[in-house]
Symmetry: C2
Subunit: 659 residues, 2 copies
């Protein structure tokens, strides 16, 4: 391959990037200018992709973990034939364009995940690489490499300073994810200046300590050296590879080597100067020279051929292994069985913690949904999150589908995002509700990308008991409910737990299953109605109740008992169980009115968490009973009494609002 | 020192621990049994402490980062003379006791920080070690080592797998915190089983890569070897030290070496068997043998002498350096000047972003409060969080008070907690509001410990603009407001920013300053009233308004303009600015009624975030205008219009609720 052609193509990527950023008058030129040779070497010589079929199942995955360099991604997608047009590049960062400020999954063909929050992309890549090995172990047969692809990511110093990156790399090393290849665009500059101020660690030695192969490329402008490094990385099948490429931030621009090139457009003059330096002074804006197009087409041809060969192979596979092929189709479809009609899922006979009933349901689902895969951040015995009939996934047993994520909540959540993004698997993960804090941004990204990731979050209130305030969630129900698109399901008994799991498996975004540590009764009136998120668990005798009592989870027991007490005092109460506000809010006006009639303003809501989410149902005339402080260390029953969660208190508040 | 006496004392710690856990019928015996020799070697031979004065300013700090092993801490505090009695040990994990399930700061003499959420303690220790160097650089003089102590922490595999631990260790290595000494109780067991399943990394090599000295102790039952390792760690002044101690989880118990010993009491039989193995079968429960008491007293005498010597030295220091001594007293007092009366702080003359007005106020405060110290997670130019007249803290310049935290939000927040816990400094830190997600648990701990840490959180809404949904906070105001004790201040203009900073500096727990990227007008009616959290910015003409408009931050502009529009349509609106709900809620009933009279049910609240926090003010008859989805990538002004944040919409909603 001629060096000038390589250079010219690399520079096309650079020029498109800075032009897009300049037109938007907003964006981050530093990384596209430094990383262009990496992206070029990868797309031109290695990446298995077919731009005409971005969903090609066995494509290599490419993640720009340093998402602020989005124009690098868009320029490559444009150049290598994806449906990203010149107009799209011109509309960078404009409302409704396909080229938003950071890469957004589901928004732009060829974008495999939404990045920008630093470090997430690396953990997503680990999740994809795990999915690849798991699916390969399940489906591949001698001569039929159904699943056989690499996962690539480009990251910068920012990603590698974030804790989530260390967590993910540590697990990747332990799991020997040999087909994971991460590029470190080492330009030694961050926003506040030279990296030395904050980051003196030996990144190569760190990754070796974590079980990675490390390859160094001294000259970041040498695509052939980068390509050789990729070859070496591919040859190493036992270890993930980190390719450290020494680059210059803002290369080719007047701000080369300076932090100033990171996050602001170069200015019209700066763009002109850059184009001159890069030999593009005579090329009109947003234009790819013909010879560069021709050069890039070789890569798209390679990808097209790869998919053609794969399809041919799959045809033979379908004949040789019809049952496996049918399973393949089922796993890839993302479809799940109709669970609500399954009577067996709804049977519970004794008082039990919802973490236990959740465990029962999970294990029944495990028998029906073979591509369910998940685990806990080292709390499986407490979260009750393992599938007992399944084996654990490990280096020796890639077909295992229980995961040991280690004590790495943040990476765990982002790895599940990666598994969901990869396709073929239905991931879940588990920890204590209070530690959802540790993985909050990754959970947000589950919601932003509308991924079917299920979160099992046990020990859901002061009911945690003796472990005390550091382990007792107070604000977490609120924090999760406020994430757009996150369904938060806090069941009151076994049947509501079934409804929670059915909601989770049905998907359309993530679901948090918030489960109790302590035993709860089983209610006769619960059941499929819980799928509506809120329903009348026990109605008043009168058509219009004197007071509406609402609660979720363990506090439903209090309002059920209070209903009886109130009856004895001549007050006719309706008991509304509200396990999932997000589902309830989506019901018809008529249904909602039938459960909580606008005319009844005497309302009491009870939840052993912060009060905030309940005011929209209770208004100014009702009463919310919740937590206004952190919890304390003591046996759970004592804590509920101490913080006022008693039947007597509910009765008192109800009587007060009825007046 | 006789080996039998060492062993007997170590075993006293072990036995007290398992007895406390057994009596509580709840707790974690695994770590106290494995780590007792470490704690013993430290307290007996090294730790500078005076149990009779737990606040001794130059004491060594000791953190049990593996907080689930709390009984280890309590047993040591009991043995070494702190105000932790036999009765306290017997009341482990009971309501109101001084021995809660996890160590709680402010609750038990000698507990330096609240631990339990894994990894936090290591980052707290880094913050304390930074504070030690900063104060030493400021106050120490030849012959007067006013600040000269070590910071010790014990952690387990759990802490070291968490991302926050890597982040904190990376910064500690870069900053060459030579007086930070961390013990790694390496027992190779986590809850889900052997560590190999999840954690194959070379922890020693990892820390060497991060700039640490690593010392290994092969036999975790050899206190003399541990003591020698501590000596070696103290000798290394350029690097923090990690002492890796190979131990056996649950040592001495029938469950030794098993995950089962981690988190459940041993049972009566198990305790008896353990006591027998450890030579305590004839010692009554919760009893320390006389010779063990006598042995431990040598350590308390050492500590008492150390404080006596320090006080003597301080007396001479006061004479030699009276001005510095006065500064010392001021810094240590935690007192801050009366800022509200300072007219200069309240002057702003032009439309400006609140991140800019915040910067102005911060820099005025920097001139008044010399012990203010803080910085950003690599976003200082965007957060506007640096003190321009100050230098940056670094290895070469320990007197600098601007911090480069690196791209490590979680560690940053926990490091600030450590700085606040150490005393002598007033810490703050900064990032984008959306990335508060990354440090959520540490922010929670600021609140749980009631620490005066200030969070500068800029780019506070869809006003972020082009960076798009990954960078636009929607749910974060809600998530922060729901943390008990966290004050969230979202100012509408310069004067409200002043009120925000005054609130933050006054302290009594953490404050989040939520600041805009985009320009906002200055209001005549704003000012000191903002210190009440909510106030009438522009009143209706009538005493009882037709409608109350409420907003915070950038949306105040909309309701101010809507007021004028409504007037033109014959509707008399009151404009309430609500920069800090937590402060407003604490005002007198009378004051709150004067701002939002109960009789006026026509209310509209506007905030470019999720609606949840506003329903308690708006009720069922009003209207909340907020975000119900994630944002998008586009110029900010377009986004506000796109998502309905317009004066016309406010007017329309107001007219609807008035009807």
């Amino acid at each position: 391959m001629s060096k000038p052609m390589q250079e010219k193509t690399v520079n096309a990527i650079r020029v498109l990037s800075v032009e897009g950023i300049q037109k938007a008058n907003s964006g981050h030129p530093g990384l596209p200018l430094s990383s262009a040779p990496i992206a070029y070497a990868l797309f031109q010589n290695h990446l298995k992709f077919n731009p005409k079929d971005p969903a090609f199942k066995d494509r290599d995955r490419f993640i720009l973990s340093a998402g602020h360099g989005s124009m690098l991604n868009y320029a490559c997608l444009h150049l290598y034939g994806y449906d990203v047009t010149k107009e799209d590049l011109e509309n960078f960062r404009q409302l409704g364009s396909r080229t938003p400020g950071h890469p957004e999954y589901g928004h732009t063909a060829g974008v495999e995940t939404s990045t920008g929050p630093l470090g997430q992309g690396i953990a997503n890549a680990v999740g994809m690489a795990i999915a690849e090995t798991a699916l390969a172990a399940k489906f591949n047969k001698e001569g039929f490499p159904v699943v056989d692809h690499y996962t690539y990511a480009i990251c910068g110093d920012g990603c590698l300073q974030e804790g989530i990156a260390y967590e993910a790399a540590s697990l990747a090393g332990t799991l020997k994810l040999g087909k994971l290849i991460v590029f470190y665009d080492k330009n030694d500059i961050t926003i506040e200046g030279n990296i030395n101020c904050t980051f003196s660690e030996d990144v190569a030695a760190r990754h070796v300590a974590q079980g990675w192969q490390v390859i160094k490329v001294a000259n970041g402008n040498d695509p052939e050296a980068i390509s050789r490094a990729i070859k070496k990385a591919k040859k190493e099948t036992e270890k993930p590879s980190l390719i450290i490429v020494q680059t210059v931030i803002g290369y080719g621009s007047p701000k080369a080597g300076l932090a100033a090139s990171h996050g602001a457009p170069l200015g019209e003059d700066g763009v002109l100067a850059t184009k001159k330096t890069l030999g593009y002074e005579n090329v009109p804006p947003f234009t790819v020279p013909e010879d560069v197009w021709a050069h890039a087409k070789r890569a798209t041809a390679r990808g097209r051929n790869a998919e053609r060969d794969w399809k041919k192979m799959m045809k033979a596979y379908r004949e040789a292994y019809p049952e496996l092929a049918a399973e393949w189709d089922a796993w890839q479809s993302g479809k799940t069985p109709d669970l609500a009609a399954d009577e067996d899922l709804w049977k519970f006979d004794k008082a039990d913690a919802t973490r236990n009933t959740g465990f029962t349901v999970l294990n029944k689902l495990a028998a029906k949904i073979p591509n369910l895969m998940g685990g806990s951040a080292d709390l499986a015995p407490a979260n009750k999150s393992n599938m007992t009939a399944r084996e654990y996934y490990s280096v020796e047993n890639r077909t295992g589908t229980n995961m040991h994520f280690g004590i790495r909540e943040h990476a765990m959540s982002a790895i599940c995002n990666g598994m969901a993004l990869h396709g073929g698997l239905i991931p879940y993960c588990a920890t204590f509700l209070v530690f959802s804090d540790y993985m909050k941004n990754a959970m947000r990204l589950s919601a932003l990308m509308n991924l079917n990731v299920t979160y099992i979050l046990t020990h859901d209130s002061i009911g945690v008991g003796e472990d005390g305030p550091t382990h007792q969630p107070i604000e977490h129900l609120t924090a999760l409910r406020t994430i757009p698109g996150m369904k938060v399901f806090r069941p009151a008994d076994g049947k509501e737990t079934t409804a929670a799991w059915i909601t989770a498996i049905k998907g359309n975004g993530p679901t948090s299953l918030v489960l109790s540590r302590q035993n709860l009764p089983q209610y006769e009136g619960s059941g499929a109605a819980a799928l509506k998120g809120g329903y009348i668990l026990s109605d008043s005798e009168k058509k219009v109740p004197d007071v509406i009592l609402m609660a979720s989870g363990s506090e439903v027991e209090l309002i059920v008992k209070a209903q009886a007490e109130l009856k004895a005092r001549g007050v006719d109460a309706r008991v509304v169980s509200m396990p999932c506000m997000e589902l309830f809010d989506k019901q018809s006006k008529k249904y909602k009115e039938s459960v909580i009639p606008a005319s009844v303003r005497a309302r009491v809501a009870v939840e052993a968490g912060s009060k905030m989410p309940w005011f929209k149902y209770v208004g100014l005339d009702g009463e919310v009973m919740g937590m206004e402080s952190f919890g304390a260390s003591a046996p759970a029953a004592k804590l509920f009494a101490h913080f006022g969660f008693t039947v007597e208190n509910v009765v008192e508040k109800a009587l007060a609002v009825v007046k």
